[in-house]
């Protein structure tokens, strides 16, 4: 292509900005002519989603300006907010205090330090092995056996989802791909853009053509038509973005397909947990729009798979 990574990143952000401008105008027209300015569930939700996209793109853009440190910090805080939402909705007792403090103040920062220093051998097993063994020890020393296994398992699950899996997004910066030096940030853009656009495409396809529900007991808004149309559209988008990746177009399509499928099931799993806890959203970080985990549920499930597929075949 002959364009530098910085130019490519800028091109992408300008492209995304244009899409958002069009979406914002379209939603404003819908509000004016279809809803006639009155409250309208679907259109208002659409507008809230578009506004959230503006904020997300701005935040990611600013983080990119600060390079590797900016990206690491961004995902560190995302993990923090996600873990806080997860543990808030989890049953814990006073005896869990030490285990929780350790999770927030030791394990979470340490995982990101390990990613920062590129210690692959440790960051890939730190939480699944060491936190897994040490946290129940901290718990058992507190002496409270009420619902012990349940409490221990849930804290571990929260760490896996909110810290371990999510930290694989900034870990993409560490991959050494021959001929792709200095461009790794674009892998993050590819992952986030494909997964998040899949959510948007599924929403649109589902609203327009949705008939058969996939999992009415878990997420009544998810339909077969929405899933197929959304995943297909986002896969095509992924293939069209091959020029920012180390993949060729059909490889980019397969990668996009893999992360879309993982992202879809991630959303489903996280919905099942919310349903079990009797809540609609994980939090209210973004007004009227749920919390950090509501935005990241699909990214969290897609990130480690994308990381390892890329690492296995391209490094």
């Amino acid at each position: 292509m002959g364009r530098s990574p910085q130019q490519q990143t800028l091109d992408l952000f300008i492209g995304i900005g244009l899409v958002l401008v069009v979406a914002t105008i379209a939603a404003a027209l819908l509000k004016r002519y279809v809803a006639r300015g009155a409250a309208h569930g679907v259109i208002d939700n659409l507008r809230a989603r578009i506004n959230a996209w503006w904020v997300m793109v701005a935040v990611i853009g600013v983080a990119f300006l600060f390079g590797r440190a900016g990206v690491m910090l961004l995902f560190f805080f995302a993990s923090f907010a996600a873990l806080r939402e997860f543990i808030t909705l989890t049953y814990t007792r006073r005896a869990d205090h030490d285990a929780l403090a350790t999770s927030f103040y030791v394990i979470l920062p340490l995982q990101y330090v390990l990613i920062w220093t590129d210690w692959y051998g440790l960051y890939s097993i730190f939480i699944p092995v060491y936190a897994f063994l040490l946290l129940p020890i901290a718990g058992v020393l507190a002496g409270d056996t009420t619902r012990f296994l349940e409490r221990t398992a849930k804290v571990q699950w929260g760490l896996m989802i909110c810290v371990y899996c999510l930290s694989h997004v900034p870990a993409l910066l560490n991959l050494r791909i021959p001929g792709y030096e200095g461009r790794n940030a674009l892998l993050i853009v590819f992952l986030v853009l494909v997964v998040q656009s899949s959510d948007v495409f599924q929403f649109i396809w589902g609203k327009l053509f949705g008939r058969r529900k996939i999992a009415p007991a878990i997420s009544p808004s998810k339909t077969v038509e929405g899933l197929a149309g959304g995943v297909l559209s986002a896969t095509i988008l992924g293939a069209a973005l091959w020029w920012i990746t180390p993949f060729n177009p059909w490889q980019a399509a397969l990668m996009a397909l893999a992360i879309n499928v993982m992202g879809f099931f991630g959303g489903l799993v996280m919905s099942a947990i919310k349903r079990d806890r009797g809540v609609k959203d994980w939090g209210d970080l973004i007004e009227g729009h749920g919390g950090m985990l509501d935005r990241l549920d699909s990214v969290v499930f897609a990130a480690p798979v994308f990381f390892h597929l890329t690492r296995y075949w391209w490094t």
Binding site: F80, R84, E85, I87, T88, T90, Y91, T92, R94, H97, L100, A101, F104, Y105, R277, G278, G283, D284
Partner: protein, 210 residues
Amino acid sequence: MSLVLDRLGAAAICGFARVLTGVRALWAGGAPKAGPRVYYANHSSHGDFALVWACLPQDLRERTRPVAGLDYWERDRLRRYVAHRLFRAVLIDRNRDARREDPIRKMAAALEGGDALIVFPEGTRNVGDARLQPFKSGIYWLAAACPDVEFVPVWIENLSRVMPKGRILPVPLLCTLTFGTALKLQEGEDKDAFVARTRNALLALSPAEM
């Protein structure tokens, strides 16, 4: 100068409490209102009154005083400074035999002076598994002394998990404060009826158990 310091200190405590707990205030029983009122809340952490205080709009906060135990807050200079200068606390002596001032009189005087109060009718912090301990009768005697004052129930959710009794290091979980509908002592209402009514109004704000 020291007034500026006091304000900065108070703002710092509020900011810290808000950031740490990501606290959300729900005014379920109507918008915040100025004037003498009594906010009464469940009590499970030392941070309770700071959080209620931090959640009030600033103009209300400046006229709202927590009611706290003299024995704890008079113990050293830092605590005395925090209690008297930052929060303008109404300190009451919990020792029945040794005290020289009537706590109810002291609280009523603050209300008559136009201030609002934050009280914890359970008396001590709740460390057990019960949602809410029995109320002490003080809430009734205060209402009897000031029958025109409104009592606003405030349910504090999760702060006991952030900073349980005996722990110093807080865990950053999300807290919610729910302000309920104000209630007053009714004509002819006796002590047990009023204590039960205020307690039930507070319990009604608590979310279902996990």
